[in-house]
Subunit: 156 residues, 2 copies
Protein backbone atom coordinates (compact mmCIF):
# COMPACT_ATOMS: atom_id res chain seq x y z
CA UNK A 1 0.00 0.00 0.00
CA UNK A 2 3.05 2.27 -0.29
CA UNK A 3 3.73 3.53 -3.80
CA UNK A 4 7.22 4.63 -4.82
CA UNK A 5 7.48 6.73 -7.94
CA UNK A 6 9.52 9.47 -9.58
CA UNK A 7 8.00 12.20 -11.67
CA UNK A 8 9.51 14.30 -14.47
CA UNK A 9 8.52 17.02 -16.89
CA UNK A 10 8.66 15.98 -20.54
CA UNK A 11 10.54 18.16 -23.04
CA UNK A 12 9.62 16.68 -26.41
CA UNK A 13 6.84 14.64 -27.96
CA UNK A 14 9.17 11.92 -29.24
CA UNK A 15 7.74 9.62 -26.55
CA UNK A 16 4.55 9.35 -28.63
CA UNK A 17 6.33 7.41 -31.36
CA UNK A 18 7.66 5.02 -28.72
CA UNK A 19 4.33 4.41 -27.01
CA UNK A 20 2.53 1.09 -27.45
CA UNK A 21 -0.65 2.10 -25.61
CA UNK A 22 -2.72 5.25 -25.13
CA UNK A 23 -5.79 5.67 -23.01
CA UNK A 24 -8.09 8.56 -22.08
CA UNK A 25 -8.36 9.45 -18.39
CA UNK A 26 -10.97 11.63 -16.72
CA UNK A 27 -10.49 12.22 -13.03
CA UNK A 28 -11.91 14.34 -10.27
CA UNK A 29 -11.30 14.70 -6.56
CA UNK A 30 -13.58 14.22 -3.58
CA UNK A 31 -10.75 15.76 -1.59
CA UNK A 32 -7.69 17.62 -2.89
CA UNK A 33 -5.98 17.87 0.51
CA UNK A 34 -2.54 16.25 -0.07
CA UNK A 35 -2.84 14.56 3.34
CA UNK A 36 -5.93 12.64 2.25
CA UNK A 37 -6.51 12.87 -1.47
CA UNK A 38 -9.61 11.01 -2.69
CA UNK A 39 -9.62 10.49 -6.45
CA UNK A 40 -12.36 9.22 -8.76
CA UNK A 41 -10.99 8.07 -12.10
CA UNK A 42 -12.35 6.79 -15.37
CA UNK A 43 -9.53 5.24 -17.41
CA UNK A 44 -11.17 4.17 -20.63
CA UNK A 45 -14.22 2.28 -19.30
CA UNK A 46 -12.59 1.27 -16.01
CA UNK A 47 -13.43 3.14 -12.83
CA UNK A 48 -11.28 3.42 -9.72
CA UNK A 49 -11.50 5.11 -6.36
CA UNK A 50 -8.12 5.94 -4.86
CA UNK A 51 -7.10 7.37 -1.51
CA UNK A 52 -3.58 8.74 -1.11
CA UNK A 53 -1.78 10.06 1.96
CA UNK A 54 0.93 12.69 2.19
CA UNK A 55 4.32 11.93 0.64
CA UNK A 56 7.37 10.89 2.63
CA UNK A 57 9.84 13.73 3.25
CA UNK A 58 11.82 13.04 0.08
CA UNK A 59 8.56 12.93 -1.90
CA UNK A 60 9.22 9.42 -3.21
CA UNK A 61 6.81 7.24 -1.21
CA UNK A 62 3.13 7.72 -0.67
CA UNK A 63 0.41 5.63 0.95
CA UNK A 64 -2.07 4.54 -1.70
CA UNK A 65 -5.31 2.59 -1.40
CA UNK A 66 -7.28 1.75 -4.54
CA UNK A 67 -10.43 -0.13 -5.50
CA UNK A 68 -12.04 -0.78 -8.86
CA UNK A 69 -15.53 0.63 -9.21
CA UNK A 70 -18.03 0.38 -12.06
CA UNK A 71 -18.12 2.94 -14.86
CA UNK A 72 -21.61 3.97 -13.69
CA UNK A 73 -20.40 4.50 -10.12
CA UNK A 74 -17.39 6.49 -11.33
CA UNK A 75 -19.67 8.71 -13.42
CA UNK A 76 -22.00 9.29 -10.46
CA UNK A 77 -19.10 10.08 -8.11
CA UNK A 78 -17.48 12.43 -10.65
CA UNK A 79 -20.64 14.56 -10.36
CA UNK A 80 -19.85 15.04 -6.66
CA UNK A 81 -16.21 16.00 -7.16
CA UNK A 82 -14.74 19.43 -6.58
CA UNK A 83 -14.60 21.74 -9.58
CA UNK A 84 -11.65 21.15 -11.89
CA UNK A 85 -12.09 17.67 -13.33
CA UNK A 86 -8.91 16.68 -15.17
CA UNK A 87 -8.78 15.33 -18.73
CA UNK A 88 -5.62 13.75 -20.03
CA UNK A 89 -4.29 11.05 -22.34
CA UNK A 90 -1.88 8.54 -20.82
CA UNK A 91 0.83 7.08 -23.04
CA UNK A 92 2.66 4.00 -21.84
CA UNK A 93 6.29 3.80 -22.96
CA UNK A 94 8.63 0.89 -22.33
CA UNK A 95 12.11 2.13 -21.45
CA UNK A 96 14.60 -0.60 -20.54
CA UNK A 97 13.11 -2.60 -17.68
CA UNK A 98 10.53 0.04 -16.76
CA UNK A 99 7.27 1.42 -18.08
CA UNK A 100 6.90 5.19 -18.11
CA UNK A 101 3.40 6.58 -17.87
CA UNK A 102 3.34 9.86 -19.74
CA UNK A 103 0.30 12.07 -19.18
CA UNK A 104 -0.55 14.77 -21.71
CA UNK A 105 -3.08 17.10 -20.12
CA UNK A 106 -5.80 19.00 -21.95
CA UNK A 107 -8.30 21.71 -20.98
CA UNK A 108 -7.05 24.12 -18.35
CA UNK A 109 -3.88 22.06 -17.93
CA UNK A 110 -3.00 21.85 -21.60
CA UNK A 111 0.68 22.41 -22.34
CA UNK A 112 1.67 20.18 -19.45
CA UNK A 113 3.18 16.72 -20.00
CA UNK A 114 4.36 14.66 -17.03
CA UNK A 115 6.13 11.28 -16.98
CA UNK A 116 6.07 8.92 -14.02
CA UNK A 117 7.96 5.74 -13.35
CA UNK A 118 7.07 3.35 -10.55
CA UNK A 119 9.94 1.75 -8.67
CA UNK A 120 10.26 -1.32 -6.49
CA UNK A 121 12.41 0.56 -3.94
CA UNK A 122 13.62 4.11 -3.50
CA UNK A 123 17.18 3.52 -4.78
CA UNK A 124 16.21 1.52 -7.85
CA UNK A 125 18.08 2.61 -11.00
CA UNK A 126 16.26 3.22 -14.29
CA UNK A 127 17.12 4.33 -17.79
CA UNK A 128 16.34 7.98 -18.63
CA UNK A 129 15.00 8.58 -22.12
CA UNK A 130 16.01 11.76 -24.05
CA UNK A 131 12.58 13.30 -23.75
CA UNK A 132 12.78 13.39 -19.95
CA UNK A 133 13.23 16.87 -18.43
CA UNK A 134 13.45 18.26 -14.91
CA UNK A 135 12.52 15.98 -12.03
CA UNK A 136 9.46 17.20 -10.09
CA UNK A 137 9.05 14.29 -7.66
CA UNK A 138 7.41 15.53 -4.46
CA UNK A 139 6.58 18.97 -5.91
CA UNK A 140 3.00 19.48 -4.75
CA UNK A 141 2.14 21.75 -7.69
CA UNK A 142 2.34 18.74 -10.01
CA UNK A 143 0.04 16.55 -7.95
CA UNK A 144 -3.09 16.01 -10.04
CA UNK A 145 -5.14 17.06 -7.01
CA UNK A 146 -3.40 20.43 -7.07
CA UNK A 147 -3.62 20.72 -10.87
CA UNK A 148 -7.35 20.28 -10.41
CA UNK A 149 -7.51 23.36 -8.13
CA UNK A 150 -4.66 25.40 -9.63
CA UNK A 151 -4.42 24.37 -13.28
CA UNK A 152 -1.20 24.75 -15.25
CA UNK A 153 -2.56 27.46 -17.54
CA UNK A 154 -3.27 29.69 -14.53
CA UNK A 155 0.35 29.59 -13.31
CA UNK A 156 2.16 32.93 -13.53
CA UNK B 1 -28.18 5.38 -4.41
CA UNK B 2 -30.52 7.95 -2.85
CA UNK B 3 -31.06 7.48 0.88
CA UNK B 4 -34.19 8.85 2.56
CA UNK B 5 -34.06 9.16 6.32
CA UNK B 6 -35.40 11.19 9.22
CA UNK B 7 -33.35 12.03 12.25
CA UNK B 8 -34.42 12.84 15.83
CA UNK B 9 -32.90 13.65 19.17
CA UNK B 10 -33.56 11.05 21.87
CA UNK B 11 -34.93 12.16 25.24
CA UNK B 12 -34.70 9.03 27.39
CA UNK B 13 -32.69 5.83 27.56
CA UNK B 14 -35.77 3.58 27.51
CA UNK B 15 -34.83 2.59 23.95
CA UNK B 16 -32.00 0.51 25.41
CA UNK B 17 -34.42 -1.96 26.99
CA UNK B 18 -36.18 -2.30 23.61
CA UNK B 19 -33.02 -2.88 21.58
CA UNK B 20 -32.23 -6.35 20.22
CA UNK B 21 -28.77 -5.49 18.88
CA UNK B 22 -25.89 -3.19 19.82
CA UNK B 23 -22.69 -2.65 17.95
CA UNK B 24 -19.63 -0.41 18.36
CA UNK B 25 -18.88 2.03 15.57
CA UNK B 26 -15.66 3.95 14.98
CA UNK B 27 -15.70 6.36 12.07
CA UNK B 28 -13.58 9.09 10.59
CA UNK B 29 -13.80 11.34 7.58
CA UNK B 30 -11.52 11.78 4.59
CA UNK B 31 -13.69 14.78 3.80
CA UNK B 32 -16.21 16.51 6.05
CA UNK B 33 -17.53 18.84 3.33
CA UNK B 34 -21.31 18.14 3.30
CA UNK B 35 -21.25 18.32 -0.52
CA UNK B 36 -18.88 15.36 -0.72
CA UNK B 37 -18.53 13.59 2.60
CA UNK B 38 -16.14 10.61 2.53
CA UNK B 39 -16.56 8.35 5.57
CA UNK B 40 -14.42 5.44 6.77
CA UNK B 41 -16.30 3.23 9.22
CA UNK B 42 -15.55 0.22 11.38
CA UNK B 43 -18.83 -1.30 12.60
CA UNK B 44 -17.78 -4.20 14.78
CA UNK B 45 -15.28 -5.95 12.46
CA UNK B 46 -16.88 -4.77 9.24
CA UNK B 47 -15.36 -1.87 7.31
CA UNK B 48 -17.12 0.45 4.88
CA UNK B 49 -16.19 3.42 2.76
CA UNK B 50 -19.11 5.75 2.08
CA UNK B 51 -19.47 8.84 -0.07
CA UNK B 52 -22.44 11.13 0.50
CA UNK B 53 -23.60 14.20 -1.41
CA UNK B 54 -25.45 17.23 -0.14
CA UNK B 55 -29.03 16.78 1.11
CA UNK B 56 -32.10 17.71 -0.89
CA UNK B 57 -33.64 21.05 0.12
CA UNK B 58 -35.96 19.45 2.69
CA UNK B 59 -33.01 17.53 4.14
CA UNK B 60 -34.67 14.14 3.62
CA UNK B 61 -32.82 12.65 0.65
CA UNK B 62 -29.13 12.30 0.12
CA UNK B 63 -26.97 10.61 -2.52
CA UNK B 64 -25.07 7.75 -0.93
CA UNK B 65 -22.48 5.39 -2.35
CA UNK B 66 -21.04 2.65 -0.16
CA UNK B 67 -18.59 -0.24 -0.45
CA UNK B 68 -17.47 -2.84 2.05
CA UNK B 69 -13.77 -2.79 2.79
CA UNK B 70 -11.64 -5.06 4.97
CA UNK B 71 -11.04 -4.30 8.64
CA UNK B 72 -7.34 -3.83 7.86
CA UNK B 73 -8.10 -1.33 5.09
CA UNK B 74 -10.52 0.54 7.33
CA UNK B 75 -7.88 0.77 10.05
CA UNK B 76 -5.29 2.05 7.59
CA UNK B 77 -7.68 4.63 6.13
CA UNK B 78 -8.78 5.79 9.60
CA UNK B 79 -5.15 6.85 10.13
CA UNK B 80 -5.49 9.26 7.21
CA UNK B 81 -8.76 10.80 8.38
CA UNK B 82 -9.21 14.33 9.63
CA UNK B 83 -8.91 14.83 13.39
CA UNK B 84 -12.06 14.03 15.35
CA UNK B 85 -12.69 10.31 14.87
CA UNK B 86 -16.16 9.47 16.23
CA UNK B 87 -16.89 6.67 18.68
CA UNK B 88 -20.46 5.56 19.29
CA UNK B 89 -22.63 2.56 20.09
CA UNK B 90 -25.51 1.87 17.74
CA UNK B 91 -28.68 0.31 19.17
CA UNK B 92 -31.18 -1.16 16.75
CA UNK B 93 -34.77 -0.88 17.91
CA UNK B 94 -37.80 -2.36 16.12
CA UNK B 95 -40.73 0.06 16.22
CA UNK B 96 -43.78 -1.10 14.28
CA UNK B 97 -42.70 -1.80 10.70
CA UNK B 98 -39.46 0.14 10.99
CA UNK B 99 -36.03 -0.22 12.57
CA UNK B 100 -34.66 2.78 14.40
CA UNK B 101 -30.90 3.11 14.59
CA UNK B 102 -30.08 4.91 17.82
CA UNK B 103 -26.52 6.20 18.17
CA UNK B 104 -25.15 6.97 21.61
CA UNK B 105 -21.98 8.99 21.17
CA UNK B 106 -18.97 8.95 23.48
CA UNK B 107 -15.76 10.99 23.76
CA UNK B 108 -16.14 14.63 22.74
CA UNK B 109 -19.71 13.98 21.60
CA UNK B 110 -20.86 12.26 24.77
CA UNK B 111 -24.28 13.35 25.97
CA UNK B 112 -25.64 13.17 22.44
CA UNK B 113 -28.08 10.44 21.35
CA UNK B 114 -29.56 10.50 17.85
CA UNK B 115 -32.18 8.19 16.31
CA UNK B 116 -32.56 7.64 12.58
CA UNK B 117 -35.21 5.84 10.60
CA UNK B 118 -34.80 4.97 6.93
CA UNK B 119 -37.86 5.33 4.73
CA UNK B 120 -38.87 3.94 1.35
CA UNK B 121 -40.20 7.30 0.21
CA UNK B 122 -40.36 10.82 1.65
CA UNK B 123 -44.03 10.66 2.73
CA UNK B 124 -43.85 7.25 4.37
CA UNK B 125 -45.59 7.14 7.78
CA UNK B 126 -43.92 5.55 10.79
CA UNK B 127 -44.68 5.01 14.45
CA UNK B 128 -42.99 7.43 16.88
CA UNK B 129 -41.77 5.86 20.13
CA UNK B 130 -42.04 7.83 23.42
CA UNK B 131 -38.29 8.35 23.66
CA UNK B 132 -38.18 10.31 20.39
CA UNK B 133 -37.56 14.06 20.80
CA UNK B 134 -37.15 16.98 18.42
CA UNK B 135 -36.67 16.23 14.73
CA UNK B 136 -33.26 17.36 13.40
CA UNK B 137 -33.50 16.01 9.84
CA UNK B 138 -31.36 18.14 7.54
CA UNK B 139 -29.72 20.06 10.40
CA UNK B 140 -26.08 20.08 9.37
CA UNK B 141 -24.83 20.29 12.98
CA UNK B 142 -26.00 16.73 13.55
CA UNK B 143 -24.26 15.28 10.52
CA UNK B 144 -21.55 12.98 11.85
CA UNK B 145 -19.09 14.77 9.56
CA UNK B 146 -19.85 18.02 11.39
CA UNK B 147 -19.81 16.35 14.82
CA UNK B 148 -16.32 15.19 13.92
CA UNK B 149 -15.18 18.82 13.42
CA UNK B 150 -17.46 20.57 15.93
CA UNK B 151 -18.22 18.00 18.63
CA UNK B 152 -21.36 18.24 20.76
CA UNK B 153 -19.46 18.99 23.98
CA UNK B 154 -17.97 22.13 22.40
CA UNK B 155 -21.40 23.62 21.58
CA UNK B 156 -22.26 26.74 23.53
Amino acid sequence: MIEIERKFLVISEVFKTQSHRQIRIIQGFLNTDPERTVRVRLKGDKGTLTVKGISSNNGLSRFEWEREISKTDAEALLQLCEKGVIHKVRYEVDVGQHVFEVDEFSGSNSGLIIAEVELGHEDEAFEKPDWLGKEVTGDLRYYNSQLSKYPFKSWA
